[in-house]
Each structure stands twice: as C-alpha cells, then as structure tokens.
C-alpha cells in the first residue's frame, strides 16, 4: 500500500449556511414540474374566473349603489383564489411528501443534518413564491375585471386603498395555505394521505360542519364555524357585509395559528423521527 497519509484536507471553502439552504430549496422548488404546473393553474384559473365573472355580470337596468362597487370588483379579482387554494394546498403537501416518497428526504437531511433549517427554508421559499404567484394572479385578475366592469357601470375606487389591500391579502392567504399544507405533508409523509388531509381541512371540514349544524342545530358547531381554516382564510380578504364575525385581522390571526400549529407539528416530528 503506497498510501501517503496526508492529513485530511478540508480545502477550506464554504460552509452550510442559512442562505445556502434557502437557495437549495429554491432550486428544488423550481426544478420539478408539479411546481410549474400548480402555479400556472393558479394564475390561469384566477384570470379565467375574473374574465368569466366580469363578462357574465349583468345588473339589467338597476343601478348598483356606489358603496358596493369595490366589493364586486374584489369578488371578480379574487374568485379564482377559492380554486387556487386547493391547487396550492396540493403543492404544499407535495413539496415535502415528494421527498419522502422518492427518498430525497435522506439526501436533504444529510446535507442539513440539523433538519429544522431545511424545513424552515422550505416553508420560507414556498411561502414567498406562492405569495408572489398569488399577487400576480389576483392583480392580473383585477386588471382584467376593472375595464370590463367599468363598461357595466361598476367603477373602481382606489382612493382608500382597501381594494388593493384586500387583493394583496388574498395572495397572503394563498401563501399561508401552502405553508399549512407543508406542515400537514411533513407530519403524514405521504402524498395521498397529506393531500387528503389538507383538502379535508380546507374543503370538507366547513361543509361537514355546516351540514352537521343544520341537522342537529348544535350551537357549538355554529360557533366554531368562523374559526375553521378556510372560513377564516377567505374572510381575511373579504370583509363581511354586515360587520358580523371576526374582523379581517382576527381572521388572519386564526389562519396564522392553524399554520403555526401545523408547521410546529411537522418540525417536531421531522426532528424526532428517523429519516
């Protein structure tokens, strides 16, 4: 054996860093097709819905009161979010469950052995990207709805900024849906299970509770209703007409709690479990 036992030579060089882990997660997110498809669908559906809704709006001869113009515009611009939230929920689950199903998670956790920075970076990148996509989708939708509805006597009023703010808040909600679903996917580690659970919470839970409340007349079910993830979420950017129910910031808080709990559960388990 002609081994020259040189001292192991870490050639210096760069170290594991937060910025690096974030860059890594960004490369991962942009380099799989499901991401591209999901975001394309979010934008297409949002724009399509805005187009459809504004084009089909018909008030006949009635004059719409001026204080309702903003609400109608907001509805047209954000109607696609109802569908977009489902797509984004699936994406949020897949971002992590795809790593578990392919075994990629072992590569990820070998590169970032403390684990939590990897999950945090995933959450951050997913949130930021989804919010940006949400902003593009909803403002494009607004841009399309404004001229069409103007032709029908609905004038956009940007003076108090609340229309712009609400459209922006819809994108924020989309970002939180993605992170909530990421937490669910981290806990369940399976694409099928994760998607079922995330969509169950977002889509099914409000319906089931609604039916349950209708049948049993149980007051608690009615009381709980506003605190459900998607009920609160959709109310972040749609102020209630009569001022009942939690205010917008309270709804945001409710959704933040859901998201935090989901992500914290994921963080706890990813740290503890063998990968």
């Amino acid at each position: 054996m002609s081994a020259t036992i040189t001292a192991p030579r870490p050639t210096g060089g760069s170290k594991l860093s937060t910025g690096g882990v974030i860059r890594s997660e960004w490369i991962k997110l942009r380099s799989v097709r499901s991401t591209i498809w999901s975001y394309a669908i979010v934008i297409a559906v949002s724009v399509g819905m805005a187009l459809l809704l504004s084009a089909l709006t018909n008030f006949g001869d009635t004059t719409v009161p001026a204080d309702q113009h903003s609400t109608i515009l907001l509805q047209a611009a954000t109607f696609g979010i109802y569908f977009g939230q489902l797509v984004v929920a699936v994406l949020g689950v897949l971002v992590i469950s795809g790593e578990y199903s392919t075994g990629m998670i072992r590569s990820t956790l070998t590169a970032v052995p403390k684990r939590l920075p990897a999950l945090a970076a995933k959450a951050f990148v997913l949130f930021a990207t989804t919010v940006v996509v949400g902003l593009v989708a909803s403002f494009l939708s607004l841009l399309i709805a404004v001229p069409i509805l103007a032709g029908k006597g609905i004038d956009a009023d940007f003076s108090d900024g609340s229309l712009i703010a609400n459209v922006a808040l819809s994108a924020l909600y989309l970002g939180l849906v993605a992170v909530f679903s990421l937490g669910v996917g981290t806990v369940l580690r399976s694409s099928a299970g994760g998607i079922a659970a995330a969509l169950g919470v977002i889509l099914l839970l409000p319906t089931v509770l609604q039916v349950f409340a209708g049948i049993t007349q149980a007051q608690w079910a009615v009381d709980v209703m506003p605190y459900l993830f998607s009920n609160a979420g959709l109310s972040i950017f749609t102020p209630s007409f009569d001022g009942s129910g939690p205010e917008q910031w309270q709804n945001l808080l409710i959704v933040l709690v859901w998201t935090a709990v989901s992500l914290a559960a994921g963080a706890l388990l990813i740290k503890r479990r063998d990968a």
Binding site: A3, S24, K28, G103, I105, R106, T110
Partner: protein, 318 residues
C-alpha cells in the same frame, strides 16, 4: 476517521445494531461486510445522523456529524441510490445539494464529469437505470470533496466497467489520505478493494482485522490436484484432519495437507500428477466461515452454507 462507541439501534423488540465499537481509519479502504440484514445500512445511517442511536454514539472526525459546520465537506455519503427526487434532473439535484454549502456550478460540472454523467445530466432522474442512479449518488457524495466517504453497496447495479471505476476511485481517494468506508455483501468485491475489514453479523462485530489476517485465519487452505489415478491417491492421502472431495472426474480437492506433502506422497507411490495447485482460501470462504452462525436469512432447503446464497431481496429491492 469514524469512531463508534457502544453503538446500538433497536427497532421495537428487534436489535439491528447491538453495542458495537469500531474505528475506521484514514488513508485506507475499510470494508464493511456482512450478510443482508446484519445492520450495515443502519450503522451507516447512524453515522450521518439519519437514524438516531438507541444508545451509544458515533463521531466523524471527532464530532457528531450534525455538529460540523460543513457536513458535506466532512462526509460524503451514498446511502441509497434512490435517495433522489425522480422528477428532478441530475444536474439540478446536484446543484440543490451543493447550494446548501455554497458549492457552485463548477464543482457540480466537475463531479458530473468525474462520474461520467455528462450525457444524462439534464434528464430527469426517474428514467435512470440503477447504475446511473448509483453514479449520481456517488457524484453527490463527492460534491463537498469530503475527507470521509461512506458508500453503502456502491457497486450495486453497476456494469463491470463501473465496478472497476468504483474500485479505483475508492483506492485513489484512500491514497490521498481520506477515510473510505465501503459496505458490501459481496466478499469478492472486498477482497479487491479493501485493506481492512469489519465484518458484521446480526448486529454484532464478528471480525475487525486487515484483509490479509482474515484470509490467513481461514482454516480452509486447500490443494487442487488432478491425476489419472485419483481414486488410488485419495485412499493414500486419507487421514484424521484431511478432507478429500472429488470435484470432477480425476480431480480432487484436499484440505489439511500441504502441496509438497501430497506431491512427495504421490511420487513415492508412483502415481502421476497432472496438476497440483495450492488454493489459498478465498475471502468468500473465510467470510462464510465467520458468518455461518450469523446469517439472518438463510436460503431455504438444500442450499448449503458455502454456496453463495442468493442475494436477499430486502436490500436489493430498496
């Protein structure tokens, strides 16, 4: 340098790795050998912190793996060729892995060249053969130019050229003073690649010695011979510690006697010899002797110990 102390992993009632101590030294290739299910993969996963030990500890270059400031520069690990997202291209996989440590495109291109993946780097990993997946896994392990390399069954699925390449790579990296820890259930592979062997059976270390020592300790030093009067010669050689088997027509394998002794005996009796070959025990045989009581999954029925058991599907399938 990898150092394990009292390393133990239990899954429920089953103990996969049972209180093992070992040191893997730099500057040589250390083979990690054992039947399927012996605990090799579990041990390697504990080294890089993917599995948490039930008790005991393992350090790499003096620290637990996760405590290093640049883990990928300390240890490169190929634990599972399939630990790669199937929807991502090989290039993007390496780029993402490297990005965590600020390792850029030039190094990614370098390891792609080193592993011969240029033509498929832009393709999605889902379509890769086992061999290409293995090469990509090795490329990822080399990304950080690490001082320690852990390769779990690296030649699995590789073609002969690939096997040769891994062998030379391992030897070359060891000669640069790096620590190379290589697992296999194929002893023949280890005989060609490793300097030192750690043999694991049922979660315990059953041998930890240089390859040469393990070979020498084997009791099965045999002599092959060929003679037109083989039967007569067999009778002549019979003795207490002597085993004679007829391998084919007019050919015998004798253990327990030396070649000169047999040659002299044949000459005295006037029996012509057409062949007389001392056969040093193969590592395979030495290994079989070591592990025959520790094989977790025996091939059923007639397959006797000493016959290379069909590879168990458990590890192969993963």
């Amino acid at each position: 340098m990898i150092k394990a102390e009292g390393l133990t992993k239990r899954y429920g009632a089953k103990t996969a790795v049972n209180d093992i101590d070992f040191t893997v030294k730099p500057g040589m290739v250390t083979g990690f050998l054992g039947p399927n299910g012996a605990g090799k993969s579990t041990t390697m996963r504990m080294i890089v912190g993917l599995d948490r030990p039930s008790s005991g500890s393992v350090t790499v270059n003096g620290k637990p793996y996760a405590e290093h400031a640049a883990p990928l520069r300390e240890v490169g690990a190929l634990l599972d060729a399939k630990a790669i997202h199937t929807g991502r291209s090989a290039y993007n996989h390496l780029l993402a892995m490297g990005a965590t440590h600020g390792i850029g495109k030039s190094r990614v291109d370098e390891v792609i060249g080193l592993t011969g993946l240029e033509s498929v780097a832009g393709k999605r990993v889902g379509g890769f053969s086992l061999g290409m997946g293995q090469r990509l896994g090795i490329a990822a392990a080399l990304l950080g130019d690490p001082a320690t390399l852990i390769l779990d069954e690296p030649v699995n699925g590789l073609d002969p050229e690939g096997v040769m390449w891994v062998r030379q790579l391992a030897r070359h990296l060891a000669s640069e003073g790096r620590t190379i820890f290589l697992s296999s259930h194929l002893m023949s592979e280890m005989a060609l690649t490793a300097d030192h062997l750690i043999v694991l059976g049922r979660g315990r270390i059953i041998a930890d010695a240089p390859v040469a020592d393990i070979l020498a300790s084997s009791t099965r030093t045999a002599v092959k011979l060929r003679s037109p009067r083989a039967e007569q010669l067999a009778q002549l050689l019979q003795g207490a510690d002597v085993t004679i088997t007829t391998t084919e027509h007019e050919a015998l394998t004798v253990t327990g006697l030396t070649a000169p002794f047999i040659g002299d005996a044949a000459a005295r009796a006037g029996i012509p010899l057409h062949e007389l070959t001392p056969v040093s025990a193969s590592l395979e045989e030495a290994y079989m002797e070591l592990t025959q009581d520790d094989v977790e999954y025996h091939a059923g029925g007639a397959a006797a110990v000493g016959v290379a058991a069909p590879t168990n599907t458990e590890e192969v399938a993963r």
